[in-house]
């Protein structure tokens, strides 16, 4: 019996062998055929060699997570085969170049199908040796009997820039390998992929891409950054769009300069952001406080990776939660959002700018390597440009400034803590402000009463901001005995776990983390056995929850080896707990 449209495909090899591009190409071909997918990337901190993989799970229904079992393994070298063959589900198979030194018996002995294909030979014969990866994708498609046309579409698009000949050769190579593999192995291979006729077009997007897109849609017109995994591609993406969308990007000399540039740009009236990882954020901590003190809007993307220090620079972790909430000396308002899906990334991308300008203070988007680089298919409408709003808060227009009758006070005391803001350049609103404590005009003063009022004013904004803080998202049946509690990038995997547990568990997912939605959290967590699932060692969210709600959640599942959770792992953890 065949299993249709439910499999995981894994391409693995050394850095530089084209794992990522091949994987992404294959994913695209599947999405074009109306299939849903979830793509997981895993790469080492080196440019050539080592062992990387790209794993794509495919289904007819929307996917939110990868899973452990692999059905088609595509190792580009021997090491990859050895390392991953055990992940292949019984009955699944391994497609590899005939030239690799592989003991077929050994593979077969493990209950996996060895499916050698003369990939290099085919590439040479029909095109060029460099097209072996195209052959591999062709062979994979052949084994699962997926429409070759969809793969061909992607080949055409991806090689277009290299000219007609290259496209044609790749098409020949792909087809030859397809036929070769189909002929020899398809009959005996259980898993199949079929395109869904008339399925709507969908987007294949990573967290970083969604974030960058959301920022652009939300009016971000300046970005400064210093390259750092896993957020470099946000800068690179915006840089590519600089010309067409009038967004200025600056690869700065360091992270301190980057955040200072973004503060300068925001001060001057332009929506500006930075993106970095924990190490770069560490360097931004002092300037973060400057933005807080001088009431300058600011959006910071912090893509977490394995720490501490340089740590595991290309891997994932949720280790910076308490750091970003408490970073910088003294007390000032900040908002922290931790999107959990591509859709939330897009939304946080534009929402953060509204919040930053509304409350005239820093907003931190806390992402991580897993979310940043995983690909997912989403409906076109899910990346909802119609819902995008550009709300600049109490920003005074030139006309409003013209009409001013009193001397302009940049830091005027108000009920909600938010002062009407003028950007510098208007004759009626000439002002200077300072990182020192200042009065309503911005003049430096150490006077006690002013100090107390200014502190209260600034912190009042955090209270006011509660109106915009969303409660946790709940998924799954109310009243389910197990309550999975997560934040940020674990949304997808926890949702999958909830689905698999069919009524036994529900999910409480936090995107908006600071100011902490304490009341909503307490309500959501009133019943059931809570289990906090976090990608860190010390249970940072659990501690935050205790500090803000005094709710002691007894159970937790944690992972801190730089790899994301799989649903299987969480299920196993829950079993342990329920024992």
């Amino acid at each position: 019996m065949s299993i249709i449209n439910d499999l995981t495909f894994k391409i693995a090899g050394a850095a530089g062998q084209g794992v990522e591009s091949s994987g992404a190409g294959f994913a695209q071909a599947l999405a074009r055929g109306g299939l849903y997918l979830f793509g997981l990337q895993d790469y080492m901190s080196r440019i050539r060699g080592g062992l990387n993989f790209f794993q794509v799970r495919v289904h007819e229904h929307p996917l939110y997570s990868h899973e452990e079992a692999v059905h088609v393994l595509l190792p580009l070298n021997e090491e990859a085969l050895e390392e991953y063959v055990d992940e292949v589900a019984p009955g699944g198979g391994v497609i590899y170049d005939e030239g690799l030194k592989v003991d077929r018996e050994w593979v077969a002995g493990k209950g996996r199908k060895a499916m050698p294909v003369p990939l290099i030979e085919i590439a040479k014969e029909h095109g060029d040796r460099v097209m072996a990866n195209t052959a591999a994708l062709g062979a994979a498609a052949g084994v699962v009997e997926y429409s070759y046309e969809r793969l061909a579409d992607v080949i055409r698009q991806n090689f277009r820039r290299k000219g007609e000949d290259v496209v044609a050769a790749n098409l020949r190579v792909g087809r030859a390998a397809y036929l070769y593999a189909q002929e020899r192995y398809a009959a005996d291979f259980q898993w199949k992929l079929r395109q869904i006729p008339e399925a709507p077009q969908r987007l294949v997007m990573s967290g970083n891409q969604a974030l960058a897109l959301g920022a652009l849609a939300g009016g971000c017109r300046f970005m400064a950054a210093y390259p750092m995994t896993p957020t470099t591609s946000i800068l690179e993406w915006l840089a590519r769009h600089e010309r067409q969308y009038g967004v200025v990007t600056k690869h700065a000399e360091d992270e301190i300069a980057a955040i200072c540039m973004a503060i300068g740009a925001n001060f001057a009236g332009v929506r500006a952001m930075v993106a970095t990882s924990g190490g770069g954020f560490s360097l931004m901590v002092e300037a973060l406080g400057l933005a807080g003190m001088c009431e300058v809007p600011l959006v910071i993307v912090e893509g977490q990776r394995g720490g501490p220090s340089t740590g595991l620079p290309t891997r994932t972790e949720q280790g910076d939660l308490l750091f970003v909430i408490n970073a910088s000396q003294g007390e000032f308002p900040r908002l922290v959002l931790a999107p959990g899906t591509v859709e939330e990334c897009f939304e946080c991308g534009w929402r953060a700018f509204n919040l930053a300008e509304k409350y005239q203070t820093p907003v931190i988007i806390l992402s991580d390597q897993f979310l940043a680089s995983s690909l997912r298919t989403v409906e076109v409408e899910a990346i909802d440009f119609d819902r995008v709003v550009i709300d600049r808060g109490k920003l005074l227009s030139a006309e409003e400034l013209d009409a001013l009758t009193e001397p302009y006070k940049r830091h005027r005391f108000t009920e909600d803590g938010i002062s009407p803001r003028a950007i510098p350049g208007h004759p009626k609103a000439v002002y200077a402000t300072a990182s020192d404590e200042h009065d309503e005009f911005g003049h430096i003063t150490e006077e006690m009463h002013n100090r107390r009022k200014m502190m209260q004013k600034r912190m009042k904004k955090l209270e006011t901001a509660r109106q915009d803080i969303r409660p946790p998202i709940q998924y799954g049946p109310a009243g389910a005995p197990i309550v999975l509690i997560g934040w940020g990038s674990t949304y997808g995997v926890l949702r999958e776990v909830v689905d698999r547990l069919e009524g036994e568990a529900r999910l409480v997912h936090f995107c908006d983390l600071w100011p902490f939605p304490a009341q909503a959290a307490a309500e959501a967590l009133r019943d059931g056995t809570g289990v906090v699932v976090e990608n860190n060692l010390t249970g940072q969210f659990r501690r935050l929850l205790r500090s803000e709600t005094c709710l002691p959640i007894e159970h937790s599942i944690s992972r801190y080896d730089g790899r994301p959770f799989s649903p299987e792992e969480i299920l196993a953890g829950l079993k342990e707990i329920r024992k």
Binding site: E242, R243, E253, L290
Partner: protein, 289 residues
């Protein structure tokens, strides 16, 4: 309507020590702005933290008193967001040559159109008298009890090596000459360094008004050609018995802002922020299909 000194007057009284060189710098900046005919709202002064960095509080002008060492990158962001504003960075020698050294070099090579004025009193004033990167070797302070052991950082030589397009030195004791120099720096298209010798009457008992007066001389009068980079470098290394003042070097090179495609249509800050058009949305979406 012509701009006058009164336009820049502020009710706030400086907190500087009587006799501090910063008074001269404040006067010179005001004078220079009037000379070039800029009104307060057209100007933005970005400073760091230190005695001198409180300057924007003491005149009527747009100002941002930021962090120790960071006014240059902040000014960079401001210029990129609104290159319609005339931006002056004003900061101490600790600011610019200590914490801010990296930014200083990068600002010089970046050639944004801004003025970088260093209040160089060769000491940390606000923290009460520690030696600074520009302190003369052997200078004894609370953190250099055996005398400063390092070669002094030379803003002029460093700016030249970094590729600055305008490099000058002034003296706070000569308000008139300094005002002229600042005016020239403002009018220069590109990064313009003005290193200002600024006596700190409280903590620097070595490099006093008199000490400087006995040594300074005017480059232009001495026949120096500011288009000659090598000669400028040679002059930059001169320090001790004779200290050159004036413009060491000036050249033309496209500014950074001019080269940024997205700025060709005018300052970002002045454009109305709107949602993406339907066409733009379509195009962006197609990238992901």
């Amino acid at each position: 309507m012509t701009v006058t000194l009164k336009d820049y007057a502020s009710p706030v009284k400086p907190t500087w020590c009587p006799g501090c060189g910063d008074y001269g710098i404040l006067a010179a900046i005001r004078q220079a702005l009037v000379q070039v005919g800029l009104a307060p709202h057209e100007v933005l002064i970005v400073t760091g933290i230190g005695c001198g960095s409180k300057l924007p509080d003491y005149m009527h002008v747009n100002g941002f008193m930021t962090l120790h060492g960071r006014p240059l990158p902040i000014a960079t962001g401001i210029r990129l967001a609104n290159h319609g504003l005339k931006v002056l960075v004003v900061h101490g020698d600790g600011d610019s040559m200590g914490l801010g050294m990296g930014h200083f070099i990068h600002a010089a090579r970046r050639n944004l159109d801004l003025v970088d004025l260093i209040q160089n009193n060769q000491i940390y004033g606000l923290t009460k008298g520690q030696y600074s990167p520009t302190s003369d070797p052997g200078f004894i302070t609370s953190t250099s009890p055996e005398g400063a052991l390092e070669g002094a950082a030379n803003p002029v030589a460093l700016a030249l090596a970094a590729g600055a397009t305008f490099v000058a030195r002034g003296f706070a004791g000569d308000t008139k000459g300094l005002a002229d120099l600042v005016a020239r720096a403002i009018e220069h298209r590109g990064y313009a360094l003005v290193d200002v010798l600024q006596p700190c009457v409280t903590f620097n008992r070595k490099n006093t008004y008199d000490w400087y007066r006995e040594r300074v001389y005017n480059l232009a009068e001495s026949g120096h050609d500011p288009r000659d980079r090598l000669a400028a470098y040679q002059k930059a290394l001169e320090w001790g018995d004779r200290i050159p003042l004036g413009v060491f070097y000036q050249t033309e090179r496209p500014t950074y802002e001019e080269q940024v495609v997205a700025l060709k249509e005018g300052p970002l800050a002045l454009r109305t922020l709107t949602k993406l058009s339907l066409q733009e949305v379509e195009q962006l979406r197609s990238e992901f299909m």
